[in-house]
């Protein structure tokens, strides 16, 4: 969890002020994260349909789905 707090703070304060902490996963080490099985949402049409079923059948809504990851290219 400690690994999460510092980058989160950095993210919120803006990258400019955090040049003393180096990204610990290099751009060339993103093989696993770029793998399609690690994609947050590889079938948007299918997953949005299932989320629709949840919203209809349940009282709760929102805050679903992950983001980020991927190849981090460009």
């Amino acid at each position: 969890m400690r690994a999460l707090i510092v980058p989160c703070l950095c993210a919120l304060l803006g990258a400019a002020g955090c040049s003393n902490v180096e990204p610990w996963v290099k751009p060339y080490e993103r093989q696993n994260l770029a793998d399609p099985i690690m994609a947050a949402d590889s079938n948007p049409v299918a997953s949005s349909y299932l989320n629709h079923v949840f919203e209809v059948r349940e009282g709760a809504r929102g805050a679903l789905g992950g983001h980020g990851g991927g190849c981090g290219c460009n």
């Binding site: 690994a3 999460l4 980058p7 989160c8 950095c10 993210a11 919120l12 803006g14 990258a15 955090c18 180096e22 990204p23 610990w24 996963v25 290099k26 751009p27 080490e29 993103r30 093989q31 696993n32 994260l33 793998d35 099985i37 690690m38 994609a39 947050a40 949402d41 079938n43 948007p44 049409v45 299918a46 997953s47 949005s48 349909y49 299932l50 989320n51 629709h52 079923v53 949840f54 919203e55 209809v56 059948r57 349940e58 009282g59 709760a60 809504r61 929102g62 805050a63 679903l64 789905g65 992950g66 983001h67 980020g68 990851g69 991927g70 190849c71 981090g72 290219c73 460009n74």
Partner: protein, 377 residues
């Protein structure tokens, strides 16, 4: 009785948040057949999506979706008769990539004979810190018009607003975690014009009578979720998600979801998952009110009752051999099946008979099928 699909438009828009900031989504076309069967309700139909990149800076997407509803649900059978209905929905989205920032704009419109909905959304996603951190935030505005079959003069508006914030963080070369917050406010006619609540009435043989529901005209909800995706060394993935939900109607809910993805050979990908959902009732919900004026607000929507659901999912994707079309880079055929058991703690099955308030508790199983073809070009 119309299913409570007023927030469907919202859901579909909300889940269209950008997934990566540094590279635009791939060009693709998807054709899906969806089918829901459960609790006396059958809903099926198509969903089509086309997405195309323009000038390497923009990505446009168009979706057309239909629900063909055939409903003989417990709500319908308790107070009315089975009905059929069609809901159509279309959406257009535009993503723009500018360096490490992605902007998304989308508009969604949904139409059925007694409900119209329009939602506009704006999202921004930014990659930071060596592309290890992605921060995204978004806003949606929705306008609904609630009508009533058989009463042409009935027309009530709903104003919906959603505020979203998400942060995702690469923790190790195999682990990415994130959290998301979403606040939704609704204002207007938030109930179902066809549904009634029931109250004790000793003057009637059944022992209870029906009366129109009375709902608050505002609702504010907050949801917070944590998620993680982990890459297993032998090439498989574990996904996990937890969401906490609470709102001004008194509904508190927990959602836990786990999934496992396993490629098999060069062409198959298999998935399995489990989802647990637990909800406590809205303050103004009751299966049987003591009298017709027991409270200011009264409702009997089982979706606002106390219940638990368990969903078991399996899925398979098969990568089709290249047809030799230069146009199509890759294509897959997929079948996903989700089986859910809904178990209500304070919603009773009045069709089964019994003394008022002592009828058996309702429970039902639902099966969801998703069969789709995806092509990348």
């Amino acid at each position: 009785m119309r299913p409570t699909i007023r927030l469907a438009a919202f859901a579909l828009c909300v889940t269209a948040l950008p997934s990566r900031a540094a590279v635009l989504p791939d060009d693709r076309a998807d054709v899906l057949y969806h089918r829901y069967e459960g609790g006396g309700v059958t809903v099926d139909g198509p969903s089509l999506l086309v997405r195309k990149n323009l000038a390497e800076k923009y990505s446009v997407a168009a979706n057309y979706y239909v629900d063909l509803v055939s409903s003989a649900s417990i709500d319908v059978l308790s107070q009315a008769s089975p009905y059929k209905e069609t809901r159509q929905q279309g959406s257009l989205g535009l993503d723009m990539l500018n360096g490490k920032t992605q902007y998304s704009l989308s508009v969604l419109g949904s139409e059925e004979n007694d409900y119209s909905s329009t939602t506009a959304s704006f999202d921004v996603s930014q990659d930071l810190f060596g592309d290890l951190t992605t921060v995204s935030f978004g806003y949606s505005q929705g306008w609904d018009d609630v009508r009533k079959r058989g009463d042409p003069s009935f027309s009530e508006p709903v104003d919906r607003r959603s505020y979203r914030l998400g942060v995702s963080q690469v923790v190790t070369p195999s682990l990415i975690m994130g959290f998301a917050l979403e606040t939704i406010t609704d204002e207007g006619y938030l109930q179902n014009p066809y549904r009634s609540m029931r109250y004790r009435d000793d003057d009637v043989p059944a022992g209870y009578a029906w009366a129109p529901e009375v709902y608050p005209s505002t609702r504010t909800s907050n949801a917070a979720s944590l998620n993680a995706r982990y890459f297993l060394w032998y090439r498989a993935a574990l996904h996990g998600e937890y969401r906490y939900f609470t709102d001004t109607w008194g509904v508190d809910a927990n959602t836990v979801r786990v999934g496992y993805v396993q490629p098999v050979g060069a062409q198959w990908t298999l998935e399995a998952g489990y989802r647990w959902y637990d909800q406590s009732r809205a303050d103004f919900y009751s299966d049987l009110f003591p009298s017709a004026n027991a409270q200011n607000f009264m409702g009997r929507d089982k979706e606002l009752s106390t219940f638990q659901s368990h969903m078991y999912s399996v899925g398979a994707s098969y990568e089709l051999p290249s047809f030799g079309w230069k146009f199509l880079q890759r294509s897959t055929i997929n079948l996903f099946f989700d089986y859910t058991n809904y178990d209500y703690a304070d919603f009773r099955d009045v069709l089964k008979g019994g003394a008022p308030g002592a009828e058996p508790l309702y429970q039902f199983d639902a099966a969801v099928y998703r069969l789709f073809f995806s092509g990348w070009f």
